[in-house]
Every structure is written in structure tokens, then in C-alpha cells.
Amino acid sequence: MSSTIDPAEVAKFETMAADWWDPHGKFKPLHMLNPCRLDYITTQIAAEFGRDLSKPRPFEGLRLLDIGCGGGLLSEPMARLGAEVIGADAAERNIPVAQVHAQQSGLEIDYRHTTAEDLAAAGERFDVVLNMEVVEHVADPLAYLTACHDLLKTGGLMICSTLNRNPKSYAMAIFGAEVVMRWLPKGTHDWSKFITPDELYQLIRDAGLDPVDRKGMVFNPVFWRWSLSERDLSVNYVTASIRRD
């Protein structure tokens, strides 16, 4: 397996792969963020491919890749909406966990222990590539995003989310989430690998994709939930890009 994923990063996630699906367990922060991520993903896919979300199985006929699928927190909703889903994870231990859960949910999902680079090399092509909270963990972001470009069909859509790099994101994601709230194990994130929205747009363009939208994902401590923001991209943010060539 050739990979741009830093082996030290993969190991960290392997230690966290047990109870993915407990909304009050270890992955509570991801479960809390999930509705907000799904709102963005579903709206972007519906807009790009002209689908009506109020209809049953609106993503029927779309081939979708979920990179870094973990326990399947995004793969399962996408399959439920009718997409043909391939979930890829570089952490081998996540695959059986995700497979068992998909079976429990009565969903058919093709989970594979592989990487974006290997799938691209094998000539796999998709209408949608979900690239959520992965790019800040890879060793070579440009090589990785180029693989994402190669994985898309012409007119295909990549959704990519990550963390901004500034004092506030350090305070929130490292000090807040890892040290104070203990939402994430210490060392989950390496702040120096965080990417600013402008840097990410440039990387996406360099990888041959056309970035078309970006929004912030903001945690509201009063309502204790995440929501999308047009302006506040200061910590978590998400982007949509199209392959034109």
C-alpha cells in the first residue's frame, strides 16, 4: 500500500476506533458535528447534481467515495440517501467495525482498507468524493488532493473540510477540545498541519480542481450545537470543488 498518510497519525486513530457509533461515547464530538457536515454535503450534492432532497433516495445513481470513513458516520447517511458508497480507511481496524454496523443498519456499503492514492492508481472514478477532516492529517496535502482530483469524473464534486490555522483554532481545537473538554485524545491534531482557507483554495487549484464554495462550521456553546456560517471560517470550515477537465 503506497500512502501519503503519516503512519504516526494512523496509529493515533486506530486507538480510537472502538465505539464509533455511541453518540455519548468517545466520538461524541464527531456525532455532534455530523448533522452540520451532512447539511453541507447533502445541499452541495443536491445542487450540483440537481437532486430533490424531499424525495426518497435522492442520490440514487451517484457513485460516492468517503475517504477516512472511520465507523461509517458519513457513509451510512449517503447510502441511506441512495448513493453507491465506497468507504475507504487507512486504519484497517475501522473496516470490520464499519461493516458490522452497516449490516445492522440494513445498508449495503463497500468498505475497503485502502487509500485515495491506491484507488486513483487503480482507475476508480466517482461522482462525489468526501474528504472530511483528513487533509490536516496527511503528510503531503498536494499529492493527496491531486489523487482526489484523479478520483473524480468530469463534473464530479469534492467536499473537503479541515481546520484553520490561527491562534483561535489553536485555542479551540488543541487546548479546548483536547486539553479542557477532553473531547479528543491529546495529540489528535498537530496544529502546524492546519491549513488556512486561502491556502486550501490554492492547494485545490494546484491539484486541478475548481473551488466553488466555502463555509464555516461554528460551535454554539449556548445551544451546544454546530451550525454553518457564511463568514466565520476561523476554526472548522468546509469547501466544495468541481473537476472541470
Partner: protein, 408 residues
């Protein structure tokens, strides 16, 4: 596993059908299990029961497409007058008056008879795609698991779905079967409900009299008719229940004086023991409680149905949005969004209404002075007045889309 419907609703009263219609509008399929036969609930004759719909509840009915057919049968409430009184003396001079001209939204609410509202729900359920009504069917068992939920009916049929919603009232068997405990207390009072016809027009004004034995409300119905809600201590209420119609009217007359002229009973008399009952949890594995099944409040301001429709609007929005995101609609973190949305509001309303009732149900002259001052103070401060009017019209809490008259 074959599935009969996405959502299995237990209870065909008013909240159950409202939720069924809202969910079906959002593309989910629903089975409604109602213990009573359909025709017995759609009788044309007025039985004396009516509801004070807050403006927000009217908007829910608008969004569900029911209001255009109901509008002509409803009585708009143009104002509310509240005052203190003593039995035998009639109401004391006006202490607190709310007028719909003080809020931008126009009328403060609508009075609608149960027979019209229920018939509209029944027709709409029959016409709706994705709603199956099982009338005259009793649930004897329920099961929930990681993959789905099922109801077993008395005739042996089993209905399967993704989750169960209990809309089966304050003694909710759905909640009991799920092992959900309740807290609350008895008010020591019985609510007496009837409808009267009267000589003079009510001009669309609702009256609320705070009397030492308990509050009495006169709510305007179309024509020269009004719905009466009052409360008495259990023993007194029982004695009143044994009275003939003529004797009943003799007890009722002095309680609100003669401003509506001569009165006569219309339909039946109803008596409900007043208890506050709140479920310890509104949700469980693949299960949610709505309306009185989640919370039965003192019906002092007709808030029972209004709170129930707010639950309906919130749960429908949470489930439909989850469905459109591709989430498992019955996952516990999805259901907890509904609970978080509603629980604070319900507990605040339950305790708030209770406080108002206790404050005004006391014969102590010192308390009466304080009450007088309290009412006077509310009357004197415009912001507080507007708050009370908006609260009574149901316009203060964070609004689900249906409560704003919008489809989800």
C-alpha cells in the same frame, strides 16, 4: 425486515393525526393506531368540547392545509379580560385586559369545536399519501430494538416501523410500556367544562376570572355561545356533577355575573381531575412521546393542545431534517434533539402555569391584596403586558417551522 410504515403513532386524538400529516408532508410514511372507531369520533353533533388555539397552533393547521376548511367554523379571539372575583359576587372590576390590537399579529387565537377539528384531521388523513389509519385498534405490546420497532395489536396483527411515537394522553400506555416514569402532582381540583348559549353577544372576548376556588374561563364560540372552563375542589366538583342541568346553571350563573344575559347549557358537561404530569424522559430507544403523553399541564389557559402541537411541529421538523440528511431518524441522538428543544419549554410552562394558578387560588385576604398589586403591576408595565399577550398567543418560544406556518 418488511416495514408497514416509517413511523408508528399510538393515539388518534388530535396530536397523533397532526403529527401523521406533518410527517407525511415531509415524505415519511405513517401508521396511526386509534383505539376508538373512526365514526364515533366524527359525530356532527356538538358535544360541548372546544379548544382555544393559540395563533402559532393556527399556523400549524395552515401549514398542514387544514385551516382554509376550518376558518369559517372558528371564532376569532379579539381580546382577553382577566379579573379576580368571589363566588356569589361575580367578577370584580377589570384588573387586566389584553387586546389583540397590542400585538402586530392581529387576533390572539381561535376557538374551534372538537367535532370540527377532529373531522378535518380525519378527512385529511384519509386523503394524505403515506398515512394509514387503523381505527378501533388497541395496542397490547410494543417492542424496540437496534433495527426497528413494532406494535402488536389486540387482534394479533403486528405493525413494523422505524420508531414508535406515543400520542396516547396523560396515562400513556406507550410511556408505561417503555418504562418511562412520570413526576407531577394532583391539584386537588377538578376541571369542569361545558358550553353555554347566552342572550348577549360575547364580541369575541375571552374572559378569565381568578376566583378563590380556582379560575373560570369563558371562551367565545361562533354565535351567541361560549365554552366554559372552571375548576372546583374534587369534593365540590363531584357534588356539582350530580346536579341537574337547572341546578348546574344556578351554580354557574353567579360565578360570572350577568354580562352575557340569560344562559343555557349546550351539549354535555365534562369533568377532568387536574393533575400536572411530566414524563421523566420524552424519548427512549426508537420511541418519542408527544403532547399529554409527555406532559399534562393544568388547562388554565388552554395550553394543553397548544403545547402538544408545538411538540408535533418540533418532532416533525427534527425527523424530516434527519431523513433529508440521511441520518437514522430514530437514532437516540436525533430523538434527543427533539427532547432538548421541547423539554425546557414544557417544564417552564408547567411550572409557570402552576404558579399563576396557585397565586390566584387562595382565599387569604393578604394574598388577595398581593394578587391585586401583582395584576395591577402587570397591567401598568407595557413590556410585561406585551410579554403576557405574546405568551398567551404562543409567540414567545423558539419556533419550529410549522409553528411559523411553513412546511418543513
Amino acid at each position: 425486515m418488511t416495514q408497514d410504515a416509517d413511523i408508528l403513532i399510538v393515539g388518534g386524538g388530535l396530536n397523533g393525526p397532526a403529527l401523521a400529516l406533518a410527517l407525511a408532508q415531509g415524505g415519511l410514511s405513517v401508521a396511526v393506531v386509534d383505539a376508538r372507531p373512526a365514526q364515533s369520533r366524527a359525530e356532527e353533533r356538538f358535544d360541548g368540547r372546544a379548544y382555544a388555539l393559540a395563533l402559532a397552533s393556527v399556523r400549524v393547521l395552515q401549514a398542514l392545509g387544514l385551516w382554509s376548511g376550518l376558518r369559517a367554523k372558528a371564532q376569532p379571539i379579539h381580546g382577553i379580560r382577566a379579573s379576580q372575583g368571589h363566588a356569589g359576587q361575580g367578577p370584580s372590576p377589570l384588573m387586566l385586559g389584553f387586546d389583540s390590537s397590542e400585538i402586530e399579529e392581529g387576533v390572539m387565537g381561535q376557538m374551534i369545536e372538537d367535532r370540527h377539528l377532529y373531522a378535518a384531521f380525519l378527512d385529511a388523513m384519509q386523503a394524505a399519501d403515506g398515512v394509514t389509519l387503523h381505527s378501533g385498534a388497541r395496542v397490547v405490546a410494543q417492542e424496540t430494538g437496534p433495527q426497528g420497532a413494532s406494535l402488536t395489536l389486540a387482534d394479533g396483527r403486528v405493525l413494523r416501523g422505524r420508531m414508535i411515537v406515543g400520542c396516547d394522553g396523560r396515562d400513556s400506555a406507550t410511556a408505561q410500556r417503555a418504562g418511562i416514569k412520570r413526576w407531577g402532582w394532583d391539584y386537588g381540583q377538578t376541571g369542569l367544562v361545558c358550553a353555554i348559549s347566552h342572550e348577549r353577544p360575547h364580541e369575541g372576548i375571552a374572559h378569565q376570572f381568578f376566583m378563590p376556588p380556582g379560575p373560570l374561563a369563558i371562551l367565545p364560540l361562533p354565535g351567541n355561545r361560549s365554552s366554559i372552563v372552571w375548576s372546583e375542589k374534587h369534593a365540590t366538583a363531584e357534588a356539582i356533577g350530580r346536579l341537574t342541568e337547572a341546578e348546574y346553571l344556578e351554580v354557574l350563573r353567579p360565578r360570572f355575573g350577568d354580562f352575557l344575559g340569560e344562559i343555557a347549557l349546550e351539549g354535555q358537561r365534562f369533568a377532568y381531575p387536574l393533575r400536572l404530569t411530566v414524563a421523566e424522559s420524552f424519548v427512549a430507544e426508537r420511541l418519542a412521546l408527544v403532547g399529554d403523553a409527555a406532559h399534562g399541564v393544568h388547562p388554565i389557559a388552554g395550553q394543553g393542545l397548544n403545547l402538544g402541537l408545538r411538540d408535533v411541529a418540533a418532532l416533525a421538523e427534527v425527523l424530516i431534517e434527519a431523513q433529508r440528511r440521511g441520518e437514522d431518524i430514530a437514532a437516540i441522538d436525533v430523538l434527543e434533539r427533539y427532547q432538548e428543544w421541547r423539554r425546557f419549554d414544557v417544564v417552564r410552562m408547567a411550572l409557570g402555569m402552576d404558579g399563576v394558578n396557585r397565586l390566584f387560588s387562595n382565599g387569604n385576604p393578604v394574598m388577595e391584596l398581593i394578587r391585586g398589586l401583582g395584576l395591577g403591576a402587570v397591567n401598568a408595565v407595557p413590556q410585561l403586558r406585551r410579554y403576557f399577550i405574546r405568551e398567551a398567543a404562543g409567540l414567545n418560544a423558539a419556533e419550529p417551522k410549522l409553528m411559523q406556518g411553513e412546511r418543513v
